[in-house]
């Protein structure tokens, strides 16, 4: 073996050895209940600061057709594998219904045609994944606020929960089912839409057919695909893991503005 190679290896070994106790300490702190709470509470500081700067109406940047990603990466579930979804897909989603219930005075059951009859918004926006990649796509759909107005919120309504058709993790109790939640401020934001079309065509299966959420001031995992049911709630702590979403239950922030 060449001497310089072994010296480099020794140097790397020394650095690894020096970082080991520091890292072990960090790992222990990550799993420690109190410090874990401090770590997670940073989210509240970030959300408070962003809400102060953003307000209710600041719009996410919109782009032109020239900026569209040539290929928009599909992430998460590419096709839900339930028999129910397969049947819906086979019939061109004509049997699909969007249920709207929970703290509403008028529960709704909407067909895709019902949604398409409502006024629509088209926007070209950037999709930012928590992993670090970005893609630009065009989305068309109906404002979530309009649907909530049709259903008329009851007093005490604070969050909108999205129940999806896809199961990311196979579990016996169904806790691997994808779901998400946002608060009313984001639900009534003008760019928050239920999208049924992407880049001028019906929403592809890989991107959440027949309907997905777009909530443009937050990261990709908030944009729930394969929507089946929208539930208005006062709190989400009794739902599945209690943190308000599939990835939130696995440690990610509920407020995904950064």
């Amino acid at each position: 073996m060449k001497p310089d190679l072994s010296r480099r290896r020794m140097l790397l070994g020394l650095m690894a050895g020096a970082s080991a106790p520091f890292l072990a300490g960090c790992d222990r702190m990550t799993q420690n209940a109190e410090f874990g709470a401090v770590l997670r509470n940073t989210e509240k500081l970030t959300m408070g600061a962003q809400r102060l700067l953003l307000g209710a109406h600041a719009l996410a940047p919109e782009y032109s057709v020239a900026d569209l990603s040539p290929v928009f990466r599909a992430n998460g579930t590419q096709e839900p594998d339930s028999d129910e979804y397969a049947r819906l897909r086979e019939h061109g989603f004509t049997d699909w219904r969007l249920q709207v219930d929970g703290l509403v005075q008028q529960p709704l059951s909407l067909t895709l045609a019902d949604l398409k009859r409502l006024p629509s918004r088209t926007q070209i926006t950037r999709h930012d994944c928590v992993e670090g990649w970005s893609a630009i796509g065009q989305w068309q759909g109906v404002a979530l606020g309009r649907i909530l107005d049709l259903a008329r919120l009851k007093p005490g309504a604070r969050y909108v929960v999205f129940h999806c058709a896809d199961e990311l993790e196979a579990t016996l109790d169904g806790s691997g089912r994808y779901y998400e939640s946002i608060d009313l401020l984001d639900a009534y934001h003008p760019q928050t839409i239920l999208a049924y079309a992407m880049n001028g065509k019906d929403l592809p299966v890989a991107h959440g057919a027949p309907l997905r959420l777009r909530v443009e001031r937050q990261l990709g995992y908030k944009h729930a695909k394969y929507l089946m049911r929208i539930e208005v709630v006062s709190a989400f702590d009794k739902l599945w893991g209690g943190r308000g979403g599939y990835w939130e239950d696995r440690g990610y922030e509920w407020y995904a503005g950064i």
Partner: protein
Amino acid sequence: MTGQLVRRHSVAVRITHWVNVLCLSILLMSGLQIFNAHPRLYWGKYGADPDPAFITIAQGFPTWLTIPSYQDLASGRNWHFLFAWLLVINGLIYLVHGFLRGHVRRDLWPERDQLKPRHLWQEIMDHARLRFPKGDEARRYNALQKMTYLLVALVLLPLMVLTGLTMSPGLDAAFPFLPDLFGGRPSARTLHFITASALVLFVVVHVLMVVLSGFWNNMRSMLTGRYAIEHSGSDHEA
């Protein structure tokens, strides 16, 4: 040792320096954890797997360099953002103190005589020969040192914060000029990585200079504020 002890670093500089050491170490290591979730960098307004990469590090960074020391993007992000807040608050304290109390003007801004080409050349040669100033010249930072510290405090660290904030979809809605300024979110992520690399390079050279130019004297000055000035002119070995 012969010589004289002078007050070199104020309490504010000493505290913010060591808070910075902690923050930058954790930000680097949790940053590598986040980088490993998608170890490709792009230039432009969009960038994902189907698009050509600007820089790719196929296997990502080794786990002994990441926080946590196993793959866990969610926890890595939590660490990164907590210490990013601390870095920003610490940096603001440093800058407000530095500008109001004269630290930047008095200690960091190069003086006229230091900027003469002949002097600068002399400094470069002295550095190359590892000859460090003594006597009165040791009372102030040399010009290369001053320019490096100014570059780090006024350019690299603010750039780090701004490119980091540009990756936030929330802040891009609040400040749409941010992604435009850096040519897009993927470009900002690439610049974040390059600037971090520049800071790592700075730290390596900085620590090397601390060791070579009198480790204990330098450490004492950054801990207690007191720095020993050696007499110049003589060839004594301390």
